[in-house]
């Protein structure tokens, strides 16, 4: 493996025609929200820039990110990126196993110290010195730190690596933490979702390895091109929301007419992702299109926010008891009203007895 080979050369070695390569460049440029002229720039970059290797690590996770990735709606994109990643290291997908596989990591560090992109799927558990996730005889957290020390940038795949996800849900027995809680000295791109959309994954990765820089990120480190708007903002059922037409139950007339799913718990108004535009499985569908609300899988701690079928969260102030803000607030307001009424009654009584004692003392 020559250090200076370009991505284009790697693709050609994998039997991808130039025609297919150019198609891939156009689609990716469009997916990244760039103008038509960028397809050529992208092709040029991939033809001339030395290939940036990608190392793909797996921590505590369900591998749904990989499953999503290899089903990339545009199969070409998946194949292309996948070929160039599996070249280096992905313990789920590569042929090598055991010591042979682990050796590849050290080889990559030797050859590409400070140049490779570290893609992390899943997250490290910290309890019991990280013993809940052991790979090649060492805790994953050690492996992650070791590989992160020599990488250029990190991509945190999915909600596990970005936020913590299911394994970090309360009470989080293994103390699983997102990547940014462990690695603090490298730039981290968060690509949340459970899993993230395949085209989003390929798009982010292509941008990073083609242009050799991070995509523009929001405050929380998510690429703006895919995570700057809520599902709600681009939802095709949004006119029903604005009209005030809601599904009240999943078997009612509104559900059949395709009304807004807000009242049956759709988290679209609080979830940042590209589902309502990119959609899933080659643009076939996405949750709201299939008649089910968004569960907010790309958001922080989405497992601990109460029911998927309730529009309001039960998180935060209710440690043990499940309660929504409206329930807590209603009880508080009711208590205030009762308190005020009782105080008013007591005031009258106090006033009367005060008068009596005054009269008796006078008399």
């Amino acid at each position: 493996m020559a250090v200076h080979e370009t991505l284009y050369e790697v693709m050609r070695q994998h039997g991808i025609t130039r025609r297919s390569f150019l198609k891939f460049c156009s689609l990716t440029a469009a997916g990244l929200g760039m103008g038509p002229e960028f397809a050529g720039k992208l092709a040029h970059a991939l033809e001339t820039k030395p290939r940036t290797p990608v190392i793909w690590l797996h921590g505590l996770e369900c591998t749904c990110c990989t499953e999503s990735f290899i089903r990339s709606g545009n199969p070409l994109a998946g194949d292309v990126i996948l070929s160039m990643i599996s070249l280096d290291y992905d313990d789920t997908l590569m042929a090598a196993a055991g010591h042979q596989a682990e050796e590849l990591l050290e080889q990559t560090i030797e050859k590409y110290d400070g140049q490779y992109v570290l893609a992390c799927e899943g997250n490290p558990p910290l309890n019991e010195d990280g013993m809940y996730c052991i790979q090649g005889g060492i805790p994953y957290v050690e492996k992650l730190k070791h590989m992160a020390d020599h990488c250029k940038a990190i991509v945190a795949w999915g909600s596990c690596a970005s936020w913590g996800c299911v394994q970090a849900a309360k009470p989080n027995p293994t103390r699983a933490v997102p990547i940014h809680k462990v690695i603090r000295d490298k730039p981290i791109v968060k690509v949340p979702g459970c899993p993230p959309i395949a085209e989003v994954m390929t798009g982010v990765l292509t941008y990073m390895i083609a242009f050799d820089r991070l995509p523009p990120l929001d405050r929380q480190g998510r690429p703006l091109m895919f995570y700057s708007q809520r599902l709600h903002d681009k939802c095709y059922r949004r006119p029903h929301f604005d009209a005030g037409q809601f599904v009240e139950r999943f078997d009612d007339e509104g559900a059949r007419k395709g009304y807004c799913l807000y009242k049956v718990g759709c988290k679209g108004p609080t979830t940042y992702n590209a589902c309502s535009t990119v959609e899933w499985n080659d643009g076939l569908s996405w949750p709201v299109k299939s008649g089910h609300g968004c569960i907010g899988c790309a958001e922080n701690d989405f497992w601990d926010k109460g029911s998927f079928y309730s529009a309001v969260t039960t998180a935060g102030f209710s440690a043990g008891a499940e309660a929504t803000a409206d329930k807590v607030g209603g009880v508080l307001a009711g208590a205030a009203a009762i308190g005020v009424a009782a105080h008013a009654a007591a005031s009258v009584v106090s006033h009367m007895t005060g008068k009596q004692s005054e009269e008796s003392s006078n008399g």
């Binding site: 929001d218 405050r219 929380q220 703006l224 700057s228 708007q229 809520r230 903002d233 006119p239 029903h240 929301f241 604005d242 009209a243 005030g244 037409q245 809601f246 599904v247 009240e248 007339e253 509104g254 009304y259 807000y262 009242k263 988290k267 108004p269 609080t270 907010g296 958001e299 922080n300 701690d301 926010k305 529009a311 309001v312 969260t313 998180a315 935060g316 102030f317 929504t324 803000a325 409206d326 807590v328 607030g329 209603g330 508080l332 307001a333 205030a336 009203a337 308190g339 005020v340 105080h343 008013a344 007591a346 005031s347 106090s350 006033h351 005060g354 008068k355 004692s357 005054e358």
Partner: protein, 235 residues
Amino acid sequence: MSSTTAASGPGTSSLKPVYVYEAPVRIWHWTHAISIIVLSITGYLIANPLPALHGEASNHFMMGYIRMIHFIAGYVFAIGFAVRIYWAFVGNRFSRELFIPPVWSREWRGHLMHKIKFNLFLTRKMEKTVAHNPLAQVAMWFFNVLVGLFMVVSGFALYGEGLGVGSWADRWFGWLIPMMGSSMEVKMWHTLGMWLLIVFAIIHIYMAVRSDIMGRESCVSTIIGGWRYWKDDQP
């Protein structure tokens, strides 16, 4: 011991009335009150929308109007709040009481304890207050200043989500969302903030009416006309 309260009837005091609430303060009080009512109703309906309307979506704009009214009332609330803060700098000395309860003053703390005892019927002695009594000051500082400020910040943070990344509301207030976890959390606390303001309103209105009836000075009329009248000549 209650002889002081019954010493004379209302309006019979020879003590000079005090001009407490200047016009901007009074205007703010009432626009603030109205905006809280409007914001609470529309805010509740945003979290818990009315039953579905039927017909074509293009014929209706129910949620759109409810949200629009909420946003307009939110602007009234926020701008009013900003003007009120400004007035604390240029207004009379009573205009600052809302923002700075003088907790460092031993005398003030004594009055505060007395007022708490008074409200718990542990003493009948009723103290006169020129502007806000110490307990009201503490309540207003927490509910009006702290909760009110939180409602402005969280409200604009959520508003910025609709305006989009890079909008003024996102740039100025959007930091709150990652700070609190996610936009669901901000929404939840924003809703709870509404309930706290409702709790405050219930107690505030009760206390104002109560002290108007049973107290030794005018109260409800003061926030309408600005002048504090005394009902007796006792100190």
